[in-house]
Structure formats: structure tokens, C-alpha cells
Amino acid sequence: MLEARSVSKCYHLGEVDVHALREVDLSICEGQMLSIMGPSGSGKSTLMHLIGLLDRPTSGSVVVEGEEVSRMTPNELAAVRNRRIGFVFQSFNLLSRTTALANVELPLVYAGVSGSERTRRARAALERVGLADRLGHLPNQLSGGQQQRVAIARALVTDPSIVLADEPTGNLDSSSGVEVMNILQELNEHGITVVIVTHDDDVARHSERIVHIRDGRIVRDEAVTARILAAEVERPATTGSDEPGGVGL
């Protein structure tokens, strides 16, 4: 359903050319939960932006459901992002001075959903990530984990078919990280394709497939044998144990 065909991304910095991605081929099936792993600067975020239609490759093509992305206009790309793709950014990227509820409503504003319907759906999405009691809070009145969950609520409020999460647990402590992974796994169980960018092996093992990337190239593509289920990790933590265990975030 989502394919990168020989994509390269090259930045020109004065005299130097930075090759963030070199002829990457990747296809992601519908309903898959996939992690992209690699060291810092290996091109993970760049790849996520390309398959999330936020950016265009220097060469090669990104194909979404048979349609070539490079032929689409910026407005068409925006419409596809709005309807089909949910982003969870590493740095949250919430609108400051805007309540959690309004932040989650934002994609619906651009989808043309009317006011009351919008509030209803945004409220439901926040409930789903366990923030029903924080609707009116501003981002700076929320903890990092709560902000990340607002960002997830915003990503899923439009019922996208794919959720892309860049280092979703990067800024979080271990228990918040487990909560976030649990939400992502739940989404995946409901049939949503989930792509996680991480440099952490434990986070990656929550998914069913790991793509290793180094210096802009895919070096390994493996199926996860011992998959971690966040729901099981979380349970002992909520029943009293101090050590969540399993996920060393």
C-alpha cells in the first residue's frame, strides 16, 4: 500500500552534498507495525517525512496506493496527509497557547468537520489516550508524556490509515513510554498501519518488523521474533511493582 522506490534525498550545503538517503526501497503493507532503526543521522526522520508526504525525494518515487506522490500538488499532498496520515513528532509539535482539545481538533478544522462534531471527535480521541480530564490544559500545563499523548490523539482523530511516530518515547520516562507504546499497539490492532522511528532496540521490538538503516541505506530488514506487548509490560507496573521491566527506555 505504501512504497518507496529507489528514493534518494540529498541536501546541498554550499560545496558539500549531504546524502541523507541513498536509493532506498521499502514497501509497507497495510496493517503492519514497523520500526525504522538506526543511529543518529542515519536518515530515519528523512525517510519518515518522505513516506508521510511531508517532503519530496530528490530522486526515486513514493507511491501511495498506486499513486505517484511526485505528481501531486502541495494541496493534494496536504489533503492526503489530512485524511490518511497521522504524525506523532519527536518534539510533540503542539500549538502552544492552544488547549489540548483545540490541538486535537486542528486536523478536523482542515478536514472541514463542523464545530460540534469536531469537539465530539477530539474529545473521544483524548479519552482514548487517557486524557479526558485534561481537555482545557495548554501544552505547557501538561507533562511530556501527556503532551505526547495529545500528539497521538491529534494523529488518530481523523481515523487515518497510517500513523507515523518519530521517536515517540524519546523524551519520556519508562512508564510514560510504555503507555505510549501500548496506545500505538492498540491502534495497530484496529488495523492501522504504524511506523515507528527509533534508535532504541526495545522500542523497536514492539513492532512486527524492523528496518535497519545506516548512512542513508537499508542494511537489514528483519521480522521480530520475540515481540514485546506493552499491555503486558504495563500490567505489573499498574498493579504495584516499581519496575516496569522489559522496556528499558
Binding site: 517525512h49 496536504a78 489533503a79 504524525f87 482542515y110
Partner: protein, 396 residues
């Protein structure tokens, strides 16, 4: 996304930076207030002059020495080769039908003195028809008679300001008034005309034309005024006067009907009003540049916000309309406040200068300020809408 939504976003953004929004608006407020105020003064003056020309009486034809078409207008730098004299006025009177009244006019400066009070004023002199032609109304006393015109008697009628200055709380009738060193008897006192610009009429004294000529030491007269018997005859009288004076003066005289005089003044004042509006418009333009400046700052400050909006699906025109509406809100709110302020200022100034806040000035100022918002808001908004989502998200 609909317009209401864009408005909500724009207003929230403006509310988040209240002081900055207010200062930006101030530029537009001052510009619009200046337009309203200056145009109000222009229109007010125009109205008052129109009123006072009409107030002179009706069906009047004015005859001046000199050819205005060479020069531009009354007092517009024309050379007058030969002034009219009383003989010319008599000639017009004799040749015209008796139903039309002819008044030779003499104007000149004078110094008035009563006891130790003195003041400078203007003499307006005419003949026994002056009262009917100019529809004078007397507070007390009477106008000068034919016999007094023939005899060049030293009788004088005073305006209300002159009375207030020289005979405060006294009956001026029968009193002696020293006019430029000669003793005159006050025989009448005209009703106050009011009006701050043409208050001159209240500040004048009136006397027989012959007396004035002696006092000023001249046999010239300033102009001739003819009152046509009916409105229909005004043009005919104008043409008759022209043919009466042509043999003696050639082209060196000008006959204007009251309507023409009015038109002349209105043209001059209309131009003046537009010039004032133009000058004020420049300050409105400066206000617009202020809006553009602040919108550019706002766009670069909110680059990340724009990136976020684009990432979740905002299209080019969504971002564009958000910022244009923000700029237009600034300019329109500024415009409305400016109109209110300008109108209030005009009301206060009314004490000294005639002002009139016209619908067209308000409409023009409002339209212009909205246009300024659109014009100066479009470029920053365009810049914002073209931002690349990834670059915008990366922006620190």
C-alpha cells in the same frame, strides 16, 4: 475550512499579542481619523461658503472688472486694466428693465472708534437697493435711503459683532461712530448672520456707496450686483449686462451668475478637500506598511505553527486566508476606531471650524483601510502559505 474558522484563528492570534496588535492598529487609526477629520473640515467649509453665497439673496448676477478666464478666479492674479465707476453702474441700471435692481458695490478697510474703543473692519457699501438685493434683516433701525446715497450722508449700519465690540449692552441707534477719522451716525444694526468663517458679515459696516468713495478717496467701485426679478430671467440679464458693457470694456469684465460663482468656489474647495484627503491618505498608507511589517514578523515568528498546520493538512489557501484575515482585521478594526475618533474630533472642532462628516468620507475611509489590509497583508500571507512544511517544522 470556512471563513468563520479563519476569523476565529486570526482573532485568537491577534488577541495573543494585544499590545502589538493595538500599536499596529494605531497607524491605521491615525490615518483614517486624519482622512475623516480633514475631509470633514473641507466639506464643512464648502457647505458654509455655499450657504453664505446662497444667503446673499437669490437670482443675483455679479459683474467684476477684468477677465477671469485669463486668470482663474476672483482674485486669481488677473490684471484689471480699468475699474468700474458709478457711471457704469448707472448705465447698466438705465439700459436694463426697471424690474431688475442694480447695486454698485464698494469694499474697503476702515478703522472704527467709539470713545476709547477701536477696531478694524471692512466697509461694504451699496445703494438704496442693497437691502432688497441682499435681503438684509435689521435687529433695529433701518438701511440707508436714496436721498442719503445721493447726498453721500455719513450714516452707517453696523454688523452684530461691531455692535458687541463698540456698543456693548447699549442701543447703538443714533450714536456717533468714528469711521477712519470721520464722524458717522449709526442708523441701523443688522441681525447676526452667524457662521464662523463668514462671520466677516457680522464684522462689517454698511454705508452708501457715495459716502464710501469719499471716505476711501476713490471713484472706483469694486463690482456691480444685479438682482434679476425672477429666476428665469437670470441668464437673460447676464447676457444683457454683457452687451451693455461690451462697447466700453471689450472683454475686460466678467459676469457671473450666482450659480457660476457657487460652482467656482465649489470647484476650488472640492479640489482642496481632495488634496486634504490625499495627504491624510498618505498616513493611512504608512499605517498599511506598519501592518505589512508586523505581519512579516508574525509569519516568521510563527513558522513552526505554520509547519504544524501544514503537516496536519492545511492547504495553501487555508494559511493564506488565515494571515490575510488577520491583516484585514487589524486594518478594519483600526478603520472603525479611526472613523469614530475622526468623527469625535470633527464634533469637537465644530466650535472653531465648520465640519461635516460625510457618508462618502466614511465609506471611502472604511473601504480604503480594508483595501490597505488586503494589499499589505497579501504578501506576508503569500510568504507564509508557500513555506515548505518540513523546513517550517525545523525552524527554531
Amino acid at each position: 475550512m470556512n471563513v468563520v474558522e479563519s476569523f476565529r484563528i486570526a482573532l485568537r492570534a491577534l488577541g495573543a499579542n494585544k499590545v502589538r496588535s493595538a500599536l499596529t492598529m494605531l497607524g491605521v487609526i491615525i490615518g483614517v481619523a486624519a482622512v475623516i477629520l480633514l475631509v470633514a473640515i473641507g466639506s464643512g467649509v464648502q457647505d458654509e461658503i455655499t450657504g453664505s453665497i446662497e444667503g446673499l439673496g437669490s437670482n443675483l448676477v455679479f459683474v467684476f472688472a477684468g477677465n477671469f478666464e485669463d486668470g482663474g478666479g476672483p482674485g486669481g492674479g488677473i490684471t484689471i486694466r480699468r475699474q468700474f465707476t458709478l457711471e457704469d453702474a448707472d448705465l447698466v441700471q438705465r439700459r436694463l428693465d426697471d424690474r431688475h435692481a442694480v447695486v454698485p458695490i464698494v469694499q474697503g478697510p476702515a478703522t472704527l472708534r467709539v470713545g476709547n474703543r477701536t477696531m478694524r473692519t471692512t466697509i461694504a457699501a451699496g445703494n438704496e437697493f442693497s437691502d432688497t438685493v441682499f435681503t438684509s434683516e435689521y435687529e433695529s433701525g433701518r438701511g440707508y435711503r436714496r436721498s442719503e446715497v445721493v447726498a453721500a450722508s455719513r450714516v452707517v449700519v453696523i454688523g452684530s459683532s461691531v455692535r458687541d465690540r463698540l456698543f456693548p449692552n447699549q442701543d447703538p441707534l443714533g450714536r456717533t461712530l468714528n469711521v477712519s477719522g470721520q464722524r458717522f451716525t449709526v442708523i441701523g444694526h443688522v441681525v447676526a448672520q452667524g457662521g464662523s468663517l463668514t462671520g466677516d458679515q457680522d464684522n462689517q459696516i454698511y454705508m452708501p456707496v457715495t459716502t464710501a468713495q469719499r471716505l476711501l478717496g476713490s471713484t472706483d467701485i469694486s463690482s456691480i450686483v444685479v438682482k434679476a426679478d425672477t429666476a428665469d430671467e437670470v441668464d437673460a440679464v447676464k447676457h444683457q449686462v454683457e452687451s451693455i458693457l461690451r462697447p466700453g470694456f471689450g472683454d475686460e469684465f466678467t459676469v457671473l451668475t450666482q450659480d457660476q460663482t457657487l460652482g467656482l468656489f465649489q470647484a476650488i474647495l472640492g479640489t482642496l478637500t481632495f488634496m486634504l484627503a490625499g495627504i491624510a491618505g498618505i498616513s493611512l498608507l504608512v499605517g498599511g506598511i506598519g501592518i505589512m511589517n508586523i505581519m512579516l514578523v508574525s509569519v516568521s515568528e510563527r513558522t513552526r505553527e505554520i509547519g504544524i498546520r501544514k503537516a496536519v493538512g492545511a492547504r495553501t489557501h487555508d494559511i493564506m486566508s488565515q494571515f490575510v484575515i488577520e491583516a484585514v482585521s487589524l486594518s478594519v478594526v483600526g478603520g472603525v476606531v479611526g472613523i469614530a475618533l475622526g468623527a469625535a474630533g470633527a464634533a469637537v472642532l465644530q466650535q472653531w471650524v465648520p465640519t461635516e462628516v460625510t457618508v462618502w468620507a466614511v465609506g471611502l475611509a472604511f473601504t480604503f483601510s480594508a483595501a490597505v489590509g488586503i494589499f499589505f497583508g497579501v504578501y506576508p500571507a503569500y510568504k507564509a502559505s508557500r513555506l515548505d512544511p518540513i523546513e517550517a517544522l525545523r525552524y527554531e
